[in-house]
Amino acid sequence: MDALRITNEVPLGRLPSLNDILKMYKEDLLRAILEFGRKNGEADTNDLIADVGGDQRLFEQATLDLEKENLITKKGACIVLTPAGREVAEKIYAKHRFIEEYFSEVFNEPDVHILAHALEHYVSDSLLAKMQGELALMSETLNLSDLKTGEEATILAIAVSDKKLFSRLLGIGLSPRSKVKLFEKLPGQLVVEVEGRKIALDTFIANKVLVSKEDRKKAG
């Protein structure tokens, strides 16, 4: 039950209290311990302070709390997660990564990780579930080949791993957020219209261009 308490969101609608700040700090700290642990095997106290920020007092208070809650144990200058702590940290980490992914997918926002850092503390479990539902819906998005002749859609993402092809697609005008219209379906090929230009591509590429038929204005 303790574990759940710590991942509860900070309440919105008022300035964060000292308690809230400590809570956020503890969440960041757990995630940092997990990340350093994965990288180096263990998390050094100095590294943690440098990464999470905050002053020495906050750090000491947080580690003391976390130790009391039986989420971490100190080993000399290093901190390791207890099994329970690992579980919580992984949850926080997953949430962080998800929010980052969400913002990059939905808004195509380059500064996503900063947003993720800030917002993860405020996102409640129920909102998280909603966001996950939304993203799942997106992952069922159509691709260009699913459109019918004459149909218009907005490009959401281009799932091409070949960098050179990706660069060409951007240069030719097939980029996230641009409007695309299916001009004609040919066997194994499509002709689409972007910015008033016709572009022919094969279904191999078309299948990787994810589109949505409705406008995604609600994002704002």
Partner: protein
Amino acid sequence: MESIKVLLVGQPNSGKSSLLNALAGAKAIVSNYPGTTVEVTKAHTLLERIEVEIIDTPGIYSLSDATLEEKVTKEHILNRDYDLIVNLVDATSLERGFYLTLQLRETGIPLVVALNFVEDARRKGVVTNINKLSDALGAPVITINPLTGHGLKALSLIISETDKLQTEIKPLIIQYDDHIEEALKEIYSNLPASMKVYRRFAALRALEGDEEFNSLLTDSIDKLLPEEVKQYHPDLSGDIMLTRYGCASSFCKQCVKLTSIRELKEPFSEKLDRVLMNQHYGWILCLSTIIAIFYIMLVLGGFLQDKSVEAAEAMVAWIIRSWSLTGVAADVLGNALRGAASGVGIALAYVLIFYIFLSLLEDTGLLSRIVLSFSRFLAKLDLPGNAVVPMMLNFGCTVPAISATRILRTRAERLRATATFVGIPCSSRTAIIMGLVASYAGVNYAIATYVIAIVSGLFFSKISGLFVKVEPSPFLLELPPYRKPLLHNVAVKSWIRMQDFVKVVIPLLIFGGVVYGLMEYVGLVDFLIQPLTPLGLWLRLPPEAVLPFIYGYLQKDLTISMLFTVLGTTDISSYLSSTQIFIFGLQASIQFPCIIASSMVWKEFGWKVAVYLTFSGFLYGILVTGLISNFIAVLGF
């Protein structure tokens, strides 16, 4: 500044060659980029009383190296042996055009942006605020129209003041997110101290995975990148490109006003596209276009050929008579003249017509529609869609077509495409089919030769698939809007493409004629014919008619004139039956075309492939043609 060197850079179909022609006229020189057929055009002209050299680079969508065009243009841009870049941007598709512009601005190289097709854009309701755009880009922006001459004066003035721009223009800095900036700093400090381009740009290229810039780093990029960056940006290069595109898009939004346009009825170009790219019958129309072009070539080329061969024969007779030449002099001079006549008459007539049509198709925008519809057919033969480009070029000449297969991604694809050239006729082989088979045996025989040759070539490529397997590669092709071709442009382009042909082929033809005249005089010819008698038997041709095949391999355009020569007349019909002429044309068409093409294969794929293709091509041609010849004989025609 004594003379100024200007680099024209822009996306495909942004009107670069029109601008070059408007600024410099027909004085342009095309230099095929060393080892490739990607054209780089250079021209000298006087602008504002200053000597200016303009270099037109191949059109590219972005500064990358996915395609050959991109590699060539990138190399030109990064070489920095010029003073100014003129970046041509199509005003009807600014957003994607700016992507390249932003990349160029990031290099820090002095640049002026020339917006083309502004009137078209306005008709579509797109009005660009030039001043705002210029401020945003930090570089001068002007509107031009190479067809009317609008803006050329302003452009000339800017070019003439290049030295001013060189000090004024600072690199454009696109702000990437913190992690990317951090990575840039890291890479930046690991790059060599002095570089031809702005170092931030070099660092960006390295992060985007450009091998050339990666190799300049002191360590591998993977080791240099901070862990955190890798974690937040698993696809770093993609994120950089997206940020840049976002920036291009926001520039576009800031500087472009969309006005409402009257809803017009569907323009003719849309209707044309609906027909040409119709999934059921579009390809029939495209194929008909090609067939119509070859038909016009046949009629027009045939007329020109008759006239020039007649003139040459008359001249040979007149010279021999009036100078009372005999023996070796008569043989050598007569053959040299016949060689020249066949060069001018057969090759020039057909090749020039072909290039005029090719340029016309290209400039109207029809070519890419044709490429599209052929690409589907090729996919069925497991040839990649864009193989249609070297294959179209092969209809002109096999030699450049072989190097043009470089636009294909893998060696297997290139080999498979090259294998089709064993059968698909180049213009020299077309000239044989038109000039010999059509003229002396009839149009139906010519069509049959053409069809059998093409099918044999495709089949040969299909068989070679047993040895070289092709992995499918992505197909992406822009279909540019239809534009009225500028006849001047078409003429210049065709003439430029002809120059190589005139300079190389005609002297070779004359030389071939001289050598043959000498061989005949010495008596080497009979000696050569002797061992070929069995081949003549198998093909059911007279033994001396086999000799032109050998000459044909040495120089394709000699085939017909050698046939005239060995038979001692241009009145071939009295020596050979229509079937024999047809078989002769077929044998001359189905083989690896000439020694120059073989050497090109050697250069591109190594000597083993060259030997394999040449010999298997010969044997294949002899097999196919002989079978057909004997089949006809059995049927009793």
